[in-house]
C-alpha cells in the first residue's frame, strides 16, 4: 500500500533546503552552463552542422539544458541525504512514521523541482544566443520529467549508499559526469567512431538528451519512441531499487 502521509512536508522541506542556498544550487549551475555555451558555441559555431539547417549553438542549447536538469536532480537528493547522514539530522526522519513511499516521492519530487528550475534558468539565459523552435513540445516535457525523476531516484540510491562525501564525489565524477558527457550533449553521437557510437547506445543518458532535443528540432538520432522506452524503463528500474533500499532500511536502520 502506498502511504504518503507526511510526504508533503518532506517535499517542501527538501525544496526549501535548496532554495535557501539558491546561489549555490541554482545560480551556479546556470552560470556554468552559460560558460559552456559561450566557449563551445564560439569555437564550434559554423564548423559543424549536426542536423540539417540547425546551427551548432541552437543544437547545443537543449543539450545544456538537459545536462543541467539531470546533474542537478541527481545532486539534490544525493547531497541532501549524505549531508543529513553525516551531520546526524537524518534521525528526525528516521524517528518519523514516514513510509518508504513518502521518502521516495518527497526526495525524488524535490529533485525534479530543482532540476526543472535549473533547466529553466539555463534555457532563459541561453535562449537569446540562438532562439530555438519548439517542433514537438510534448517530448520536451516528457523527457524532462522522466530524466529528472530518474536522476533524482539515482541520487537517492547514491545518497543511501555513500557514507562519506568523497564516496559521493566519486559517484558523481566517475559515473554521472562521464555518462552525461558521453551522451551527446556537445555533439551528435553519429559523428563518433562506430565503437563509441555503440557504447553511447548503451547509455540511458543518450536517450534522454536525444529525445529531449527531438522536442525542439523534430529530428533525432533515434526514434523518440525508443528513447521513451529506454528512459521510462530505466526510471522504473532505478525507482524499484530505490524503493527497495528504503523499505529494507539499507544503511539507515542497521
Amino acid at each position: 500500500m502506498i502511504r504518503l502521509a507526511g510526504a508533503r512536508t518532506l517535499f517542501f522541506k527538501e525544496v526549501l533546503r535548496f532554495w535557501k542556498v539558491g546561489f549555490q544550487t541554482v545560480a551556479a549551475p546556470v552560470l556554468t552552463a552559460m560558460m559552456y555555451l559561450l566557449i563551445f558555441g564560439h569555437v564550434m559555431q559554423g564548423r559543424v552542422e549536426v542536423f540539417p539547417g540547425v546551427g551548432y549553438t541552437s543544437f547545443l542549447i537543449p543539450g545544456l539544458v538537459m545536462m543541467s536538469v539531470l546533474q542537478n536532480s541527481f545532486a539534490n537528493s544525493s547531497s541532501s541525504l549524505v549531508q543529513s547522514k553525516i551531520t546526524g539530522n537524518l534521525v528526525f526522519l528516521l524517528l518519523s512514521p514516514l513510509s518508504h513511499w513518502a521518502w521516495f516521492v518527497a526526495y525524488v519530487g524535490a529533485s525534479m523541482v530543482r532540476g526543472l528550475v535549473v533547466g529553466l534558468g539555463v534555457f532563459l539565459v541561453t535562449v537569446w544566443f540562438a532562439p530555438p523552435a519548439f517542433a514537438q513540445p510534448l517530448w520536451i516535457v516528457v523527457f524532462m520529467v522522466l530524466g529528472s525523476g530518474m536522476l533524482g531516484a539515482l541520487g537517492l540510491i547514491a545518497g543511501l549508499w555513500a557514507d562519506k562525501f568523497d564516496q559521493m564525489a566519486g559517484f558523481q565524477n566517475f559515473i554521472i559526469m562521464p555518462m552525461t558527457f558521453l551522451s551527446g550533449v556537445f555533439y551528435s553521437v553519429h559523428s563518433l567512431p562506430t565503437f563509441w557510437l555503440q557504447v553511447s547506445h548503451l547509455n540511458p543518458f543518450f536517450y534522454m538528451i536525444d529525445g529531449f532535443r527531438r522536442g525542439f528540432f523534430g529530428t533525432s538520432d533515434v526514434s523518440p519512441w525508443i528513447s521513451l522506452g529506454v528512459v521510462g524503463g530505466s526510471f522504473v528500474v532505478v525507482s524499484a531499487v530505490a524503493l527497495h533500499l528504503l523499505k529494507t532500511g539499507y544503511k539507515l536502520r542497521p
Binding site: 512536508t9 535557501k20 551531520t87 526522519l93 524517528l95 514516514l98 536502520r253 542497521p254
Partner: protein
C-alpha cells in the same frame, strides 16, 4: 497494556573483530504513566536498547512494543506513540527553530499545530529564539529544541537519552520541571542519564544494564533500601589502612565507606583511630543511588545484588515471558 514492552531483546553485531553482543535477552515492561530510569555504564547497551525501541536499529531477536504496537511490524503506529530526544546534539542547519518544529510536526501528519508549538517554545524558554537559525543557538539551546522536536506530536511515551549531558543547571531544572509535569499529566517517560541524583529524584522505577544484560530492576526506593543503607563520609589527607582502602570510594580528599549498621560504623571509626588517620567533616548519611549503582556494577563475576529477570516483587508479570 504496558506503554513499552521489551521481550527477550537481543542485538548482536558481527564485525572483523568477532561477534559483539550489545543486548542479551533484555526483558521488562514500563507501565503507562511511569517515570522509568535506565542506568548503566558507557557501552552497557542503553542507547542500543533505545535505538531498537525507536526503530533506528533492528533487533537480532525478541520483540519490542510501544502502546501495544510492534516497533518492527507496525512501525508507523509505534513511532507515532513515541517522542525521542536523541543523545547526539543534532540539528538541521538550514532552518529556524520554528521551521524545524513545524517540519517535524508535518512528518507526523500533524498540521495547524501552532498553539502547541508556541506552548513548547515557552515552556522550554525558546520563545525569543523561535526565529533564530539553528546554527546560531548555543549547545544548551539546541538541546531544548531537540526536546521540543520530540514532543511536537504529543506522544504518549517520551524517551530521553542523556538529555542533560553538558547542559547548565538552569536548563536542567527547567527541563525536569516540564518533563515532570508531562509525566503527571499521564505521559510515560523513559530516561537514561549519567546524573544519578536526577534518576533518584525523578524515577519511580530503575533498571540497570551491564554488558547488555538487565542486572537490576526495581522501585527506586527498594533499590536504595536493599543495599548498604549507611554511608560514612569524611575528609582526610592521609592514606587509609589497607583493610579499609579496599572498600573505600575516594574522590580527592573525600572518602566514603559503606556501613551496614551502627556497630559497623563504630568498627570503621575504631579502625581509623587505630591507624591514627586524622579525619575532618565526618558525616553519617544514607546511601544514595550512586552507591547502589556502584555496588551492582562492581558485583563482578558473582550474582548481582538484585536481578530483575528473576523477579523482585515489583517486576510486572509479563516481564521475562518470551514472545
Amino acid at each position: 497494556m504496558p506503554a513499552v514492552s521489551f521481550q527477550q531483546v537481543e542485538k548482536t553485531y558481527t564485525g572483523a573483530s568477532g561477534t559483539f553482543r550489545a543486548l542479551d535477552s533484555v526483558s521488562f515492561d514500563i507501565p503507562q504513566g511511569e517515570f522509568f530510569g535506565l542506568l548503566g555504564p558507557n557501552g552497557a547497551g542503553k542507547t542500543t536498547l533505545i535505538s531498537v525501541l525507536a526503530g533506528l536499529t533492528r533487533p537480532s531477536g525478541g520483540r519490542v512494543t510501544v502502546m501495544g504496537f510492534d516497533v518492527q511490524r507496525d512501525a508507523a503506529a509505534a513511532r507515532k506513540a513515541l517522542g525521542v530526544v536523541p543523545q547526539e546534539l543534532v540539528f538541521d542547519p538550514f532552518f529556524t527553530v520554528r521551521e524545524a518544529l513545524r517540519i517535524q510536526s508535518g512528518y507526523f501528519g500533524v498540521r495547524r499545530n501552532g498553539a502547541w508549538i508556541d506552548e513548547l517554545l515557552e515552556h522550554l524558554g525558546l520563545t525569543d529564539k523561535a526565529d533564530a537559525n539553528m546554527r546560531q543557538l548555543s549547545g544548551g539551546m539546541k538541546r531544548r529544541v531537540l526536546v521540543a522536536q520530540a514532543l511536537v506530536h504529543r506522544p504518549p511515551v517520551i524517551v530521553l537519552d542523556e538529555p542533560t549531558a553538558g547542559v547548565d543547571v538552569e536548563l536542567r531544572q527547567t527541563l525536569w520541571a516540564f518533563i515532570a509535569r508531562l509525566n503527571r499529566e499521564g505521559h510515560t517517560v523513559l530516561l537514561t542519564t549519567h546524573y544519578l541524583e536526577e534518576a533518584e529524584a525523578l524515577c519511580h522505577r530503575i533498571g540497570m544494564l551491564k554488558q547488555g544484560k538487565l542486572v537490576a530492576l526495581d522501585r527506586t526506593a527498594n533499590l536504595l533500601a536493599a543495599t548498604a543503607s549507611t554511608m560514612l563520609r569524611f575528609k582526610t589527607d592521609q592514606a587509609l589502612p589497607a583493610a579499609l582502602a579496599g572498600q573505600a570510594r575516594v574522590t580527592g580528599r573525600i572518602v566514603q565507606l559503606k556501613a551496614r549498621d551502627a556497630a559497623d560504623v563504630e568498627r570503621l571509626l575504631a579502625a581509623l583511630r587505630e591507624a591514627q588517620v586524622r579525619i575532618e567533616d565526618l558525616e553519617i548519611g544514607r546511601a544514595d543511588l550512586e552507591d547502589v549503582f556502584l555496588e551492582i556494577m562492581h558485583a563482578g563475576g558473582r550474582q548481582p545484588a538484585l536481578d530483575g529477570a528473576t523477579g523482585l516483587g515489583d517486576v510486572p508479570a509479563s516481564a521475562g515471558v518470551a514472545a
